[in-house]
Subunit: 205 residues, 4 copies
DNA sequence: AATGAATGAGTATTCATTCAT
DNA sequence: CATGAATGAATACTCATTCAT
């Protein structure tokens, strides 16, 4: 009996398609990715793809939405729910997050955001609201908690959570461009964390 | 028939074209820039443009080559020739360089490199050899000099000149994406420098 | 499980669909009308529509068939059954028919026939046989009756019932294209009738 | 020596293309005509066609503009410049014009206008201003001249030049739809002219 | 009978690149 | 050298039609 030409799987389709798109975008970049190709990878006709995503741009946005946001969610959830000290969190889950990000699929999405962002202002806004702003906010909150609990002293760093995000972005970009010549990004991220934590604790760094 | 008042010099043509291209790429990005448009901006016919640059990709590479490298040259030249202490250099010319970069045209080129780089491995190699590697090397050298002269202590940071480059890349990317919500990048760069210098000097940060 | 309050009758379906199609075609024209849209207007699934009409073209033909023919029927029935004199008929029911046609839905169908006709020769044949030929025949017959009864004289006009149809077609087309600049079509149709009747009666027009 | 792949004929291209388009539109109608096909007929690449006409719609408009307007010009020029009496003009040049139109290419354009007009309001306006309004105006003027010179009496017909245009439009439409069953359109047009002229002259028609 | 998810052929339009002049 | 007319491959998107459910 031959494979049925049709499978009715309304529920699964969107995710099947965004997954295929993620891979395709990751390999070729946005502009060079053919809608045809995404459909083929998803094992779906082009027409069906357009049933779920009005345009290629739409598809791109959906990819960003569905793969990046959950990562941030995971991080903020831990901050909110755990009993860890700030340092424990930074050296534990945060370091783990920062360390693994540059090698993951998400890393490629971040490069895509940098590349394509300026052409999609609404996506940029979405990304700011749901990813960047929340991520920075979570760090700020964490530092504040550290200060409240006498773990950290207050300093200019409290206003600059970006200092914690910096090595992550740097590693993402660096590894995606100069894979070969890239330093051990773990070391880089670790070094920055050491610097910052020593500073916050008032130690000689 | 009157002699044309200005006759364009053959020798200037390539630069006129790369300048036009820089502006165009900066405005629209690589893919969305039309060769036609670059030619028009340069006041040159499309055919002539193709006489100097075999392909659009070629033109892109030429743009990167001619505008980014000189900036790095300027910086390394100062390091090599000046009598400043390491800290003076970092707080002086380096800070100035880092502070102005994110708002300049070069900033856009860096974003373009991030976006288009992976499609042009040879360009990436060129960029590594002539910009990144030399930039990081210059910082390493500077730190080493600081150590030699008793200004700095030796630490893990000596092996990670990236820590000095990080805030620059971060600011470039951040400002080009989130102009509105962007923090004062001067402050960010300054804070990182403070952290690093305090650490190198062994101060309580 | 409650019985649905209204259960659509199978027998009514085709007409409900052609009615929806008429409206849709009238609004958008044949090519721009989506089968999807017709189905939605008819409150029916696309699949069911295709159960009744094999193709979109089929649907179009059905629309023409079901809405135009009855109009002609109505007219010929009056001719055949009434006791009116020819002039009474022309100035009465015929004028009424001619006057109201250009503003009705049928008018749009006629425009569609003009537009799409050449692509559907069989439809054209059907239209000729059932509408045009019968309409012209009815007029011829009427004129003949007028001659037989001494009401009209015989002239070249007897062979050209088209002269009576002309202002109707003209008004239909004119109003559908130049609604704004259109003359009072009643006056136009009336004037042509006056001309023709005066001629047939041998009056000075 | 092989045919050169390029011919530089900037001046001739637009007309070569509109001519090809006229034929194609005439054969297939607007929607069914492929831009590809027009280009092929014109012996030109698709790209070049788009150099001269921004869109398919643009091309269509150009076709209407370039082939219909001159015909009207020819007619009005005769009215304005000739010394003929009104009747001479009507039975001479006007009849000739009306007689030949339904078999000409223009006839097909008129059908296209009827079919596509409502989708292109600006084209419709152009057509009204440059063709219909001027054509009707010319007839009105002619009738008025006839009245002034004692050739015609004044009547309701003076206000309805449409009565003269009617048989032309009717013949155009009729012949393009029912070529086979079409009456001798010359006879039809002649009969209407006879009716109208007799009426204007006050004769028993 | 009824649904609507799934198909895929079909087409307008763009743009880097070439080459006759 | 210089031009810009000419090329044609490449691609997002549509929609009539089908068919598993």
């Amino acid at each position: 009996m031959p494979e049925p030409r049709f499978r009715r799987r309304k529920e699964d389709r969107p995710q099947e398609i965004t997954e295929a798109a993620l891979t395709a975008f990751a390999e070729k970049g946005y502009a060079a990715t053919r809608v045809d190709d995404v459909a083929k990878r998803a094992g779906v006709s082009k027409g069906l793809l357009y049933l779920y995503f009005k345009t290629k741009e739409d598809l791109f946005k959906a990819v960003i939405r569905s793969f990046v946001v959950p990562r941030i969610d995971a991080l903020t959830t831990i901050i909110d729910n755990s009993e860890m000290s700030a340092e424990e969190f930074l050296r534990g889950p945060f370091f783990e997050f920062a360390r693994t990000l540059p090698g993951s699929h998400i890393s490629i999405l971040i490069r895509l955001m940098i590349a394509e962002g300026p052409k999609h202002p609404d996506l940029l806004q979405f990304y700011w609201d749901n990813v960047v702003s929340r991520g920075l906010g979570a760090i700020s909150e964490l530092l504040e908690r550290g200060v409240q609990q006498g773990e950290f002293r207050r300093s200019a760093v409290n206003e600059l959570p970006h200092l914690f995000a910096m090595p992550v972005l740097f590693s993402v970009v660096f590894r995606s461009l100069f894979e070969k010549q890239c330093p051990d990004t773990d070391k880089l991220i670790g070094a920055q964390l050491d610097l910052l934590i020593a500073h916050m604790k008032g130690d000689v760094a």
